[in-house]
Symmetry: C2
Subunit: 473 residues, 2 copies
């Protein structure tokens, strides 16, 4: 047994140091796009043990790959093929340390499953608003490391906006005890936001103080049929004005997306008929009210009514109850599944200023049709945040292989278009391995240089999740 | 003429390089608590000129002190007495570069006066919510450098929460062009938040992309008489639940504060009589509504009515119109003036978890009475943010000098108390020179070490606003 593995076993006990085949679930991502090897997988049970593991690895100049629920989309939690790295799973750091109702905060450990935190907040009569597809298995540590987005960003912001304090183990194995429940604290540099979103390359987040919010009393959902992207943007603006902070969802979907869902899953019917069902765009609108069902509905009908009258909305279906509301959301959530059922596609997670969304779609569609004639565009996303899932599927006369052979070209065309319209090539999924090599093409060189300086300053040995986010020597 | 001064004059023109007596307005803070000297004061007119100034200073190993409206409270914009430093005023960087209504953002230069930005947003039918006492003369660059707070934090957050992108000149005179209007962007380390709040010690912010919000349609204000601090906290919780994000203000005031205002300015009458006027605590509550005057008022009366019935609120006055609302806010704003009229006091800008506020006040009051018998406590603040202005004035039998002779003891007692209850010794004013030397006593040593590493990495020559925030050799 290697010296380091022996020391780790002495520290944690053999039960919590996985070797050989036992490491399999930890060395590939869940979509099986990235594969690696690990010297060992360790599962420390406390922050102090994490710190000791990091110190031992530093002494042995051994890289560490932190891992939460292993649900990431960019390969940030998968080790490389060298087999040199130790994967550090945060799964056993899964305690909710403290819920402070008067302060509307909770202190939680990195390995807590997101869904459990949502439930714990609800049990305390509060809302923890972070919500995303993987919530049943992703951990808050991973959400923090990638600054996860999700469906509630329009109202509550990204993960970083939900955090007041952090506890972090540095690359030297020191513990920064920064769990603070303070909404104002101007005593120096903002280290919290530096660690959030750094994808485990600057240290390991072991716990966080999260913000809690009042639970909404009522919610209202509607599906709107829209004649154009310009209308979609005008309706967003009117909804922001009319609902203020009660606007909690605004999801854009190309008409083709919903018709595809209907085609793949005929039991999921579009709630429109005739011309409305053939609309080029749809939007899912959600209002969360702090007052009452009645008020939510009246308010909703007033604003949507005005938009119908003004011709900005062609048609609208307002959910009558929770079942109908869920059915509308289910249409939206079924788009990726329907997309998958019809074959592999090339996916992009991009963001743009809302004012450039229409231009972007026009330019990117045209450039892609010129380069790869006949492809289909699958466009949906969180319009309220300027975040589009802009995906590309094969046309009827094209094989899947023919499409995938053009993957790099498609990426380049879409990302170039995003860049020229002041957008981001990664809105909510992060960089990881997937976008590491193209990042310098799209990022300001001064910004890249600053990132390297910070990495060098905090992790001079280069042992924290090497090969992720930045190319380091 | 010194070589550097000559080079700066060649670059900017003599008009924008102030020397000798002309530097006077720039080398002391507005409260005249800090005094320094400057080799020169430069007033560059563009980001490119800022970069050139920084390069020249770096070549001559000359420190730079960035300065906005010079309204800070901690001496962060005042040079030291050596006369070695160049003060860089951002006053001429005062253009609003672009307002993007569809994206709800505006790109503005660092030297813009805050009030002008509020007005520009209003002219575009939007709200820029940052609001604080110095708004008529402070600049957004200074607000960003100190992460300013103010009266709208409860709803909209601190300055950092209002920013999407930055343009920054690094200590090497490079320009990071990071003006992004994106609500989601997960492409690497969060440099934006690192520069915000760093008080000019890591680089010079020259422009920012700010978030805009819908203008509220109606506002409602009430003054509540409260029987205890516990009630004040319970009422805050109920108001958060009942109003959701419409709750935009919750200011706590000790009864003595309002009675002092009434005594100093008899025309400002407390709107209560009898027992209610003698209440130990008052709270100013503000609701901003996206719907209508009528709705705001009905909602307000419903929630406050329930609190009255439950006995959590002893008495309440709801403003009938804008004039009455302003009169209520004026009571709150007059507290520091009345305080000043009765002599010098020892001030603290602290924050605590809301759940520890009552404990803090009890402990700090007792410890101070034990150490300096007879002093008076002047306590008010933004309770919704856990931010207290906890001030100490002389008692009736004490001279001002006797009080001020104990200033260091008072600071220590209050800050020790804050620290033991997990609070911050600077909630919204920053560190500057004022709290630099005591910061290491209250900050986690790992956090201090990380701050020094980042300073060293970004500013190895130590020329950016030296002697502020951190003690560097």
């Amino acid at each position: 047994m290697n010296d380091l593995v022996k020391a780790l076993t002495d520290l944690l006990g053999a039960e919590y140091v996985l070797l050989g085949d036992e490491t399999a679930p930890y060395v590939a991502d869940w979509r099986e796009r990235y594969h690696g090897k690990a010297l060992a997988v360790v599962r420390p049970g406390s922050t102090e043990e994490v710190a000791q593991v990091v110190k031992l690895c530093a002494q042995h100049a051994t890289p560490i790959v932190p891992q939460g629920g292993n649900t990431g989309l960019c390969g940030a939690a998968t080790p490389d093929m060298s087999g040199n790295a130790v994967v550090l799973s945060t799964a056993r750091l899964n305690r909710i340390r403290h819920i402070d109702s008067a302060n509307d905060t909770m202190d939680v450990e990195a390995g807590c499953i997101l869904q459990n935190l949502q439930q714990a907040a609800r049990d305390a009569g509060r809302l923890f608003p972070l919500s995303l597809a993987a919530e049943g298995s992703c951990t808050i540590g991973g959400n923090l490391a990638t600054n996860a987005g999700g469906t509630q960003v329009l109202r509550y912001g990204n993960t970083r906006d939900l955090v007041l304090g952090l506890e972090v183990v540095t690359p030297q194995g020191e513990i920064w005890r920064g769990l603070r429940g303070l909404r104002k604290d101007n005593t120096g540099y903002d280290l919290r936001n530096l660690f959030i979103g750094s994808e485990g390359t600057l240290g390991i987040i072991t716990a966080a103080t999260l913000k809690l919010y009042p639970l909404p009393v009522a919610q209202c959902t509607a599906l709107l049929a829209l004649g154009s992207l310009d209308d979609a943007i005008a309706v967003l603006s009117a909804a922001r004005q009319g609902f203020g902070a009660s606007l909690t969802g605004y999801e854009l979907m190309a008409g083709d997306c919903l018709r595809l869902v209907n085609q793949c899953y005929p039991q999921q019917r579009l709630p429109f008929e005739g011309e409305s069902a053939a609309s080029p765009w749809f939007a899912l609108l959600e209002l969360s009210d702090s007052e009452s069902e009645t008020h939510a509905r009246e308010r909703f009908e007033a604003v949507v009514g005005e938009l119908l009258e003004a011709g900005r909305v062609l048609d609208a279906v307002i959910a009558e109850n929770i079942t109908q509301s869920k059915a509308l959301w289910h249409l939206r959530e079924s788009i990726p599944l329907a997309e998958k059922d019809t074959g592999k596609s090339i996916k992009h997670d991009v963001s743009l200023p809302v004012s450039n969304i229409a231009d972007f779609i026009e330019r990117a569609n045209a450039a892609l049709q010129a380069a790869v004639p006949g492809i289909r565009h699958i466009i949906f996303g969180h319009l309220g945040d300027g975040n589009l899932h802009y995906n590309v599927a094969r046309g009827p006369d094209m094989s899947e292989d023919a499409l995938l052979a053009r993957q790099e070209d498609v990426y380049r065309i879409v990302h170039d278009c995003v860049h020229s319209l002041k957008g981001s090539i990664s809105a909510e999924h992060g960089v990881g391995q997937l976008k590491r090599d193209i990042l310098p093409q799209y990022k300001d060189p001064v910004e890249m240089a600053l990132m390297h300086r910070i990495k060098q300053a905090l992790d001079p040995q280069g042992l924290m999740n090497p090969g992720k986010v930045l190319v380091t020597s």
